[in-house]
Amino acid sequence: MDRTPVPDADVCVVGAGPAGGLVADQLAGDYDVVVLDAGPRFDFEDRPERQERAIRPFYGRPDIWEMGGPRDDHTASGEWSYPLNHARVKGIGGSTLHWQGMVMRLHEDDFNSGSTRGVGPDWPIDYEDLRPYYPDAERELGVAGASDNPYGPPREQPYPMPAFPPSYSDSLFAEACEELGIDMHSVPNARNSESYDGRSQCVGYGTCQPVCPSGAKYDATVHIDSAEQQGATVIDRAPVQYLEHGPDQIEAAVYATPDGETHTQSAEVFVLACGGVETPRLLLLSASETYPDGLANTSGAVGRYFMDHLFAGTGGVLDGETRQNHVGFYTSSSQQFYDEANEEFAPLKLEFFNYDGPSPVEMALSGEDWGDDLLERLREGYGNHLGIGALVEQRPQEASYIGLAEDQTDDHGNPVPDVHWTVDDRALRTIERANEIQTEILSELGAEITWQVGPEETGPAYHHMGTTRMGTDPTDSVVDSTGRTHDLQNCWIASSSVFPTGGAVNPTLTIAALALRTADHIDRALGETSTR
């Protein structure tokens, strides 16, 4: 394949995940767009084999999409360890290749966390600023949902597809929640409840996370394909090493290719869309005399304020069948407790699982028995589990950051990312609160509690946010309200790295809405340039 630079490119997008894919797709009709991605272009036909890897015990999560090795090395110097290569995929489609596909809007107060909850900064935009882009994002990704969430932010338009009906286990939870005065509602899925956009209806493979063999779950190859059809050039296996720049703008992206060559891609505009870890890393790797602390880092905020959502969960067993693991997504949630957030407690949302307890086929491959003994073990182990998860917001903290490792380099000799992750007490307190609610619901059901993920056991939900935060003040933020860096006039960032605070809903719908909005601003900026 030809991996040489595109001459006279207008837009160079770094990263072929959902943000980069959407920006490229929006601009490719009118501009010469080139997309560079560090990872490969995966063959759709290989997905059944990847699914087999997902089921077989020999393979770990990073193996499914070929993460790991010198390209992807990392360190974790913080108080909390971070399994970075479980949390991301490099390649065309990015981490949407392995995501679960849950897509909710942030709440109104999430944009004003500082003033309404006393935590973190306010965003420089409000829900109303992003509101026109949310339905567009839902249409682009293909979202199945229903307007039945009384606690969600306002919306006028219906979802593009009807919601997935509730599960049998949802009906069990519903009885308990009704007794306790807890409202359940449907949950928006970026997964086809009917055929949509040339992709099939979900066929129930049950391995959504980490691979959807049918393509019913949205992934960013959809928009990369669309961008290419409009004339964009997509170069895979082309990790950008650094960004050549002057004081006011980026001149070129210098990228490596598998043949050992290094190329220089020039463009009018650069869009960094390589996630909350690699985006700040690339800026830090591009330090210069003008920007000794890293490109676009006059504020010192590049890499700082690294946030993730924290998981809290409780599960148990019932005296009765619960019908788990038929599908790999959940169909009911509760955001009733979300906006009780204040300085003491973070926002949280509850997730009623359809996949708690063991999957029989995975159990079968891991025992020391077979034949009738194995079948007996499977029958004893499967069938009566129930679980409730929750996501909890983490407060932005300067001491939680993505940096460059001092003593480890990647396959091109660049310092690997160091994830220095710390978690605040408000988040840990809220995990306890989530556990209490979960325990209350399961106890009402008469379940025997068998597992709990609390403050001691919690881990990340793999949502990387905050590391190039958005703000109005160039001294404490990296990008402005449009996504353009304060320091460099032709550098935009499309990523959850621009989130000043994280809320407690999965970030990708907001990533998509922001990407569409940023694409509009880039379009305007390029229009102004061409008419000068």
Binding site: Q201, E321, N325
Partner: protein
Amino acid sequence: MELTRRDAVAALAALGGAGSATYGYSRLRDDGPDSTPPSDDHVRETMSATAEIVYPSELSGIAAFVEEFVDARLAEDDDHAAGIREAVTILDEHSQTWYDQSFADLSADTRETALEGLGADVADEDPDGSTAERVRYYVVNELLLALYSSPTGGTLVGIENPQGHPGGIQSYQRGPNGLE
């Protein structure tokens, strides 16, 4: 409960014709058996003989199911197919050493003893591992994966749409008595 060729087709639809060897992991070891790879007929026979041990006794129709599944996996003629053939040869060499017969010719009790003697019951699967780990990966777990990702295998356990099977989006809504 009867297994059918249709179940095998369902398992193959989920898993693909071949295993996960098309992009990397299963580089065959240099210290594998030196002998000529076994014929497809012999592989099929050996896999069926193993299935009689590792599948539950209440199943019938095992031979047709295994034949359909194994034929498709071998037809890919890739690293995974070679791994299956190599693991069958390992099984045969082990049974020739201990029982002077090929594995498929042993009685059912002796086949189970032979698998246990090899360590395939307690080994973790590993396509590049020890002989026991390779037999576990390419023979024992290959068969268990085929069975328990199929609707008939899942139904034995109480899940008619097991992980890996594209069984639609109705079953998750149904209760234990078929009620939505």
